[in-house]
């Protein structure tokens, strides 16, 4: 193979055939990756789609390929569905090294296999220099619904986070800011289906969503709005790694608003909170699971935070890009 992907590779014909063969080999699939994948659904199913444009494309803890599977799988897991089939579209900027493309796709393939899923159909496009940022991945995920995780919330329901907040976002932001830290922050990028399965078996899970863009605060506000309830959380209860906290302080960010790629927020019936917590903590992805607050009676859509100073304030979603502060 030539070193770099060129427009020829996207033009159809022999070069495109070589690109597709390369993609299949890196994904580690014997499937033909035809125009379409024919199958018979076994029961209630779920469909999701997602785009992946992260830079840098490779970071401690993950890469764009791994993220593509985790993000898709987690969107399905939020609704009680296990990812089975992935449709994958690649948009490649002319000049992307094949070595980089291969590395991302091998990671994608490995991550898919590890959670029992496979890429079954796909598409490749190559665009001119400057028309995409290296590599964009677009996925459609098909999953089988195995449990229900959406029920009306009531006052007293516990709000649980499955682990430490802010790892992924700070891994990316510290890289972008060129900050070299003694302990590199690693992304928490992971497929969360096993945690959802464990939680649902242990108790009544009434809401689940992964805390991606906008962080925990965004999910809490969505939950409060969609479920027409009020939520209170405690600043002192959010698990945050020391290096993430330090990086947040340096750049002027708040862990409540930083993206995660391997953390679920769940609302669980009060009586079941202890069992669900124990079940989560029994899994390597959920060791640091913690109750961070509860649903309470009050103004619908309102999320408040109990502060270190002993008062309460609003916890609003952040608006706009997260930008490092001046001083």
């Amino acid at each position: 193979m030539t070193e770099l992907v060129t427009l020829n590779h996207g033009a159809g014909g022999e070069e495109t055939g070589k690109l597709i063969a390369f993609v299949r080999e890196c994904l580690g699939t014997a499937a033909p990756l035809d125009d379409a994948f024919v199958f018979t659904p076994t029961g209630k199913s779920a469909l999701t789609t997602d785009g992946f444009v992260v830079t840098p494309r490779f970071f401690p803890g993950g890469d764009i390929g791994k993220l593509a599977v985790c993000g898709t799988a987690n969107d399905l897991a939020c609704l009680g569905a296990r990812l089975r089939h992935l449709a994958l579209a690649l948009i490649i900027e002319e000049g992307l090294p094949f070595a980089e493309l291969g590395r991302a796709l091998r990671s994608l393939g490995e991550t898919a296999r590890a959670c029992g899923a496979a890429v079954v159909t796909g598409d490749c496009k190559v665009v001119g220099r400057g028309q995409a940022d290296g590599l964009y991945l677009v996925t459609t995920g098909y999953g089988e619904v195995e449990c229900s995780v959406r029920r009306p919330l009531s006052a007293g329901d516990a709000i649980i986070i499955t682990g430490s907040a802010g790892d992924h976002g700070m891994a990316i932001l510290t890289r972008r800011a060129g900050l070299r830290l003694d302990s590199d922050i690693a992304s928490d990028c992971a497929v969360l289906w096993p945690l959802v399965e464990l939680a649902v078996r242990a108790g009544a899970v009434k809401f689940a969503r992964d805390a991606t863009r906008g962080g925990v605060a965004a999910v809490l506000n969505e939950m409060a709005r969609e479920q027409a309830c009020a939520i209170v959380v405690d600043d002192g209860l959010l698990p945050v790694r020391a290096n993430v906290r330090a990086a947040c302080a340096m750049l002027g960010f708040d862990p409540w608003h930083i993206a995660n790629e391997g953390k679920m927020i769940m609302a669980v019936a009060a009586a079941d909170a202890d069992q669900v917590l124990a079940a989560l903590r029994g899994h390597e992805l959920g060791r640091e699971a913690a109750v961070i607050g509860q649903v309470r009676a009050g103004e619908s859509g309102r999320v408040t935070l109990a502060t270190p100073a002993g008062s309460e304030r609003l916890l609003l979603p952040v608006s706009g890009e997260q930008l490092p502060r001046i001083c």
């Binding site: 060129g178 609003l314 608006s319 001046i326």
Partner: protein
């Protein structure tokens, strides 16, 4: 938090049945007080009023107008992130970027040097905005700047602003000042002595943790109660009496005090910095002399950031607050900046 609780008790005792008015000069304090919930907790005893210590908020429209013009003439703009969304007379930098201008956000001014070195054929403009906290880092960048890197000075100096605010009638109804921790780390606690004495203003320098701020405010409340118009230092781990001599020497070498226009406070003599003669070639004016900032004339908008910055208007008193003006659609700098009083009031409101 025992240290915090002890400090709150001291504040309550010192205030008695009065409600003391304290100005927190620094924008980072404004946000830290809101975020930690300390502002709400202390509300029965302290009315905390935000001051003009937000470098982005006090950057006036004229500055942004010059920047957008420079971008349109092909200069790549290099800036701290906060400046990106400030609304200006010709739109914000983010909007200019969407229209095709090149705008790079950096964390450190030295990143601008690295950028300029990597692309010698491109001219870069660094937005030199900040108080004395940030100025030394920018000064260091100036000394290392290659020929294709220019600076547009928008620095502000804290002492002239305090003198202007409390030296003109009507004087804001403030009993004491919580002084900025990081500016003080550079200029030193002694820098405020004369001001505190002749303005009859008790002052305490504070850090930024909830307990640290509470302790600084306790010290300040006690000074107010005994009419002690001197400067206390509750941030000794970082702030010395003389300040950071190396940083001050760098400022002396690279910059010199110059008149500056502040949003809200107007033009204040010698309240900013410009490049010293030796470094004049690095100023934007050296290559685009026609891009002079227009006189500090306000845009005709309903934005009342100016009064907020001078401590004369509570953000909630602005008719635009929370309606036309929110962090998602900011009408003025105070709502955009991560140090802005209006943003803090909106985000951390009870």
């Amino acid at each position: 938090m025992p240290a915090l609780e002890a400090a709150v008790t001291r504040i309550a005792a010192a205030a008695g049945d009065r409600r003391l008015a304290v100005m927190e000069v620094c924008g980072t304090h404004t946000h830290a007080l809101g975020k930690s919930g300390l502002r709400a907790r202390l509300a029965p005893h302290l009315k905390l009023v935000s001051g003009p210590g937000c470098p982005v908020c006090v950057t006036d429209d004229g500055y942004l107008q010059v920047v957008v013009s420079a971008a349109e003439r092909g200069l790549a703009i290099v800036t701290f992130g906060d400046m990106l969304r400030v609304p200006g007379p010709r739109g914000s930098l983010a909007e200019a970027r969407a229209r095709g201008a090149r705008v790079e956000v950096v964390y450190s001014p030295l990143d601008a040097v690295a950028l300029a070195q990597r692309e010698p054929r491109q001219r870069f403009l660094f937005l030199a905005v900040g108080f004395e906290t940030t100025a030394p880092g920018i000064a260091a960048a100036v000394t290392r700047a290659p020929a294709n890197l220019f600076f547009l000075c928008g620095f502000k100096r804290i002492m002239p602003a305090l003198e202007a605010l409390f030296g003109t009638e009507p004087r804001p109804a403030i009993d004491g000042l919580l002084l900025p921790g990081h500016v003080s780390a550079i200029i030193g606690a002694d820098a405020y002595r004369d001001f505190s004495a002749h303005s009859r203003m008790p002052c305490v320098i504070g850090g930024f943790t909830p307990a640290g701020m509470a302790q600084a405010l306790a010290d300040l409340a006690e000074r107010i109660a005994r009419n002690d118009c001197t400067v206390g230092n509750a941030y000794r781990a970082v702030v010395s009496a003389a300040g950071n001599c190396k940083a001050l020497a760098l400022l002396d070498e690279v910059l010199r005090p110059a008149d500056a226009a502040w949003r809200g406070l107007g033009a204040i003599p010698l309240s900013g910095y410009e490049l010293a003669d030796r470094y004049r070639a690095r100023a934007l004016a050296a290559v685009m002399p026609d891009l002079d900032p227009p006189p500090a004339a306000a845009r005709s908008t309903a934005c009342r950031c100016g009064e907020v910055l001078a401590g004369r208007l509570d953000p909630r008193g602005c008719p635009l607050f929370g309606k036309d003006c929110t962090p998602a659609s900011p009408q003025g700098a105070c709502m955009v900046s991560s140090e802005g009083s209006c943003a803090a009031a909106f985000l951390y409101g009870e």
